[in-house]
């Protein structure tokens, strides 16, 4: 399963070792990866060569073979959707003529509005977050005072926005209990195949004697084509869309100068997956690189996720634009009240449209270069953390028996007579479960996702002869069904399993929290043959636990406001929804110091290795050297965890939770697709969340959300078409001074000037003479003090001058800063 052809070059995991051999040698000398089995040195890479890409995987051949019919209904249903997506055409009737003609013949000029239109539009946008009645009120007042220059009515302006933006939704019927959508092969059904609920509004159907058929509920998809086109219609915005093209050129040039070695990883473009596709000509400079993400949005407090939102992120934009609300493209909304059962049927219109665009091409008129071309949107990554991911990946969720959702091909082990598999690398002592009793797995042999592994497993699943057998195979493979994305032509997407990215959000926080804390508290499941009294690491008990919880809570005043959500007392709140952010702060901020002298030394140091590695892996930019060290440390953490806690005991195999294994992949994925932060939903959380916040009408929140998302798509498109519509969202607060490069001096500002003499005046003189020796120096300096400074990080640094008078319980100390001293300045200070 782990076999890769003995090919020269995969620049993925091997590169962690070979690419940086020298760097690694300096740091610590790790044992060289043993050439065990198929994991020979052949895998070591050289960026000059490229991975021979399979144009079509074997499983894709089978999926698309009309003569192949799986024995399992569920698989058949998936195949039906997949085959329809594969055969997609823009002319299937979903799109209005207007949209169709735009996709094929984009407007080749900027959009010019007349004065009344522009005025009405600006008014409309300034009411964007207010109830819509506000616009009408303003219009009425305005029209009373200026009857010669009338504003458009709400209805008129909304119709114009639709027309100008070209964003027109595809509306489909769905089961009112949100089981499925009437799309694809379900298009003609009249009742839900899952819950038998009628497709129609039964009250109206009965009242009319069966004549009036009004859908009970509908959902919206927002076609991608016009939303992409909009980004090219203004020269400035179109220029922004060239970020990928320019960055790629820089990276390729640097690679040449650096003998094919990557010095750092900052974006997906530094990943081998992207670079190889570019070299093979599979991604051209005119294509659009897409990342799809799907996330649950909570509309009501008491429900988990009652609504699912699909979005596209355009990787062509620079990172600080692409995840912003105004550039994220809404794809669809699956309304509640329940979680969808047949997610494929809801995602179908979105990917059908994408498939048609890929095959027929999307007409782009690029205003920055004043040229027209046909673009093929390329489906590059699928990003969803935790629960969201299972919907579209077609994989089993967290409880899956197969520990690696990234298909590295690791062979797991289970306890005798228990079906749950664990990614235990070491073979337990006295263990002889058939199929699992392989020798110790060398941690260095674990590699990135292998398309071959996924492919083999998927075919095995598809060929299940009967339902019982299917269930077994599902468990063995970790695959429930083929992914809907398999319907996209393989030349316009990555191999399915290569599109999946790791889950750095849940794994490093909630999942580890569910493992480490119960272990340290001695509350983790303990087998009958084991005893928690033998758990030397189980120390967070009684008053130690209570004190530990207080220490966490007491950290609060010293946590700057910008850190977001300070962790609550963990001893009191661990069972009341300790949030991902709280876990992150607890483990990677406070953990090492608060657990020092609490955990036994070896266990504490083991934990520190994890912290060390994750702090690096979640950076936005990671140098090749840092990556080697971080990966080495996380491997040490994993290996030691098995030795310290599990101790090769069969009755402790359940300590080996899948999250431990997935930790290894966070670093392994970096050379392949760039740092985790770039495709983690950390960055998109807020974006998805605030669509939900925009809901105003409580009577029908789901319909309203869909309308909101539509308007969002339309307004975003318009803002790209006419960028100067956008009012500067962050105006500098009154009295502030913009210092440039993201620094803003902020009030409070002292009114009367301070006379500064003595030691501080000497320091000022020293500073000035180091800047320019000709400055006249003084004994007294006069100036007024300022309280706050906005930094390019988006944080606001405060100062002791204004803050230190506040009582500690009201403080979130934000006056501690990191200062960079250049060598030059430093020399003078010495």
């Amino acid at each position: 399963m782990l076999s890769k052809e003995p090919e020269n070059n995969s620049p993925d995991p091997g590169s962690l070792i070979t690419e940086n051999q020298e760097a690694q040698a300096q740091v610590e000398a790790p044992a060289p990866a043993p050439a065990s089995g198929e994991h020979s040195s052949n895998e070591r890479n050289d960026m000059d060569n490229s991975i021979p890409n399979q144009t079509c995987s074997r499983s894709t051949d089978i999926l698309l073979d009309p003569n192949f019919t799986p024995a399992i209904d569920l698989l058949n249903a998936s195949l039906e959707f997949i085959r329809r997506i594969h055969a997609a055409s823009l002319d299937n009737g979903d799109l209005q003529d207007e949209t169709l003609s735009r996709i094929r013949n984009p407007f080749c000029e900027s959009l010019i509005l007349d004065k009344a239109e522009l005025y009405s539009l600006q008014q409309f946008l300034s009411c964007e977050s207010a109830p819509q009645q506000t616009y009408t009120n303003i219009m009425q007042v305005h029209n009373n005072f200026f009857p010669d220059f009338p504003m458009l009515s709400l209805d008129q302006i909304k119709r114009r926005i639709k027309e100008w933006s070209g964003v027109i939704p595809v509306i489909k019927d769905m089961c009112p209990k949100s089981c499925m959508a009437y799309t694809g092969q379900f298009e003609k059904l009249t009742s839900c195949p899952i819950c038998s609920c009628s497709r129609w509004d039964t009250a109206r159907l009965q009242a009319s004697g069966g004549l009036v058929r009004v859908p009970a509920q509908q959902f919206y998809s927002y076609p991608l084509g016009p939303q992409i086109q909009a980004l090219f219609r203004d020269p400035g915005m179109a220029e922004e869309m060239s970020y990928r093209r320019k960055t790629t050129a820089t990276i390729l040039r640097d690679l040449q100068m650096q003998d094919g070695k990557r010095m750092f990883f900052e974006d997906v473009f530094h990943g081998s997956e992207y670079l190889n596709h570019v070299k093979d000509g599979k991604i051209s400079e005119n294509d659009i690189l897409l990342m799809f993400s799907m996330d649950g949005a909570q509309l009501y407090e008491h429900k988990q996720s009652d609504c699912w939102i699909g979005i596209f992120v355009l990787l062509d934009l620079r990172p600080d634009l692409r995840y912003k609300k105004k550039h994220v493209i809404p794809a669809f909304i699956i309304p509640g009240p329940n979680n969808p059962q047949d997610t494929d049927s809801f995602c179908f219109p979105t990917f059908y449209h994408l498939s048609a665009l890929q095959q027929e091409g999307l007409g782009i008129w690029d205003a920055s270069r004043e040229l027209s071309y046909v673009s093929r949107p390329f489906m590059f990554l699928f990003s969803a953390d935790g629960p969201g991911s299972v919907h579209l990946t077609g994989l089993v969720g967290h409880q899956g028996a197969c520990p690696c959702r990234l298909f590295c091909g690791l062979k797991a082990r289970h306890k005798p007579g228990v079906g749950c598999y664990y990614p235990a690398l070491l073979k337990p002592i006295g263990y002889s479960v058939e199929g699992c009793d392989h020798a110790d797995v060398d941690i260095k042999s674990i590699t990135c996702a292998s398309p071959t592994d996924y492919d083999t497993k998927l075919i095995y699943l598809l060929c299940s002869p009967n339902a019982t057998n299917y269930r077994t195979r599902r468990k063995e493979t970790g695959i429930v069904r083929p992914s809907l994305l398999s319907g996209l032509h393989s030349k316009y997407r990555l191999p399915i399993s290569s599109m999946f990215t790791g889950d750095s959000l849940h794994v490093t926080t909630l999942n580890l929290g569910d493992l480490l804390l119960p272990l340290w508290r001695g509350t983790f499941t303990c087998d009958g043959t084991d005893s928690t009294t033998a758990w030397s690491w189980a120390v967070l008990k009684g008053h130690v636990w209570k004190q530990h919880g207080e220490a966490v809570a007491n950290a609060r005043p010293y946590i700057p406001g910008s850190f977001d959500r300070p962790p609550r007392n963990i001893a009191e709140k661990i069972n009341s929804g300790y949030k991902a952010k709280e876990w992150q702060h607890y483990f990677y901020g406070l953990g090492p110091a608060l657990l020092y002298n609490v955990l036994p030394l070896s266990y504490w140091q083991n934990f520190c290795k994890l912290v060390f590695a994750i702090r690096i892996l979640l950076q936005r930019s990671i140098t090749a050297e840092q990556l080697v060290i971080a990966q080495h440390k996380i491997e040490e953490f994993h290996t030691e965890f098995e030795l310290l806690y599990v101790q090769q005991r069969v009755d402790r195999m359940h300590f080996m939770r899948p999250c431990l294994h997935l930790l290894l992949h966070i670093g392994l994925e970096v050379p392949r697709v760039g740092p985790a932060g770039i495709y983690s939903t950390w960055v998109m959380e807020r974006t998805v969340g605030n669509l939900g916040e925009e809901i105003r009408l409580h009577s029908s929140p789901y319909a309203n959300l869909a309308e909101r998302a539509l308007l969002r798509g339309q307004v975003n498109a318009l803002k790209s078409i006419i960028p100067n519509l956008e009012k500067n969202t962050e105006t500098i607060p009154q009295g502030g001074i913009d210092l440039g490069s993201g620094y803003i001096l902020l009030r409070a500002h002292e009114q009367t000037s301070l006379e500064c003499r003595g030691f501080v005046a000497v320091l000022i003189s020293q500073f000035l003479s180091s800047e320019d020796p000709s400055y006249p120096l003084q004994d007294i300096y006069r100036f007024t003090r300022w309280a706050r400074l906005r930094l390019p990080t988006g944080q606001t640094a405060r100062s002791r001058w204004k803050e230190s008078k506040k009582p500690l319980e009201r403080l979130r100390i934000s006056w501690n800063v990191k200062v960079f001293f250049s060598v030059f300045l430093n020399a003078l200070l010495m």
């Binding site: 990172p319 692409r322 912003k324 950290a555 010293y558 946590i559 700057p560 910008s562 992150q584 990677y588 901020g589 090492p592 110091a593 020092y596 140091q605 912290v611 702090r615 979640l618 936005r620 932060g677 960055v683 998109m684 959380e685 807020r686 605030n690 962050e730 607060p733 210092l739 620094y743 001096l745 902020l746 030691f759 320091l763 000022i764 500073f767 000035l768 800047e771 400055y775 100036f783 300022w786 400074l789 930094l791 990080t793 944080q795 606001t796 640094a797 100062s799 002791r800 204004k802 100390i813 501690n816 800063v817 990191k818 200062v819 960079f820 001293f821 250049s822 300045l825 430093n826 200070l829």
Partner: protein, 109 residues
């Protein structure tokens, strides 16, 4: 550590502007630097505990250009061998926050 310099941590006393000539204005901060980290603790903790202490004023105070201030960090009080110290906590994934719509809103005062 950066090749062209090094980072230090400190408390900002206040910010101020100096008009040295008609066209040149410096925007500066008076900062009290913390000590160098406790090396033993740093090594023992796999470089995860960077523990510093306050310095006497004459050693601590520095004038810095505000643009040398890179980020806001947390320094948490703790006691090591009976000594009052502070350990450093830098926000994990800080630079990622500016990518989304996650930054602090700008407040008037």
């Amino acid at each position: 550590m950066n090749l062209n310099g090094h980072t230090e941590f400190g408390e900002v006393e206040f910010y101020f502007q100096l008009h040295v000539s008609s066209e040149k204005i410096y925007t500066l901060a008076l900062v009290s630097l913390y000590s160098k980290p406790n090396q033993e603790m740093y090594e023992k903790s796999i470089h995860t505990i960077y523990s510093v202490k306050k310095l006497p004023e004459e050693d601590a105070l520095r004038i810095v250009d505000v643009k040398t201030i890179r980020s806001v960090v947390s320094l948490q009080p703790h006691i090591v061998d009976g000594e009052d110290r502070f350990f450093l906590w830098e926000q994990v994934g800080l630079e990622l926050l500016t990518l989304g719509d996650m930054v602090e809103p700008l407040l008037p005062e």
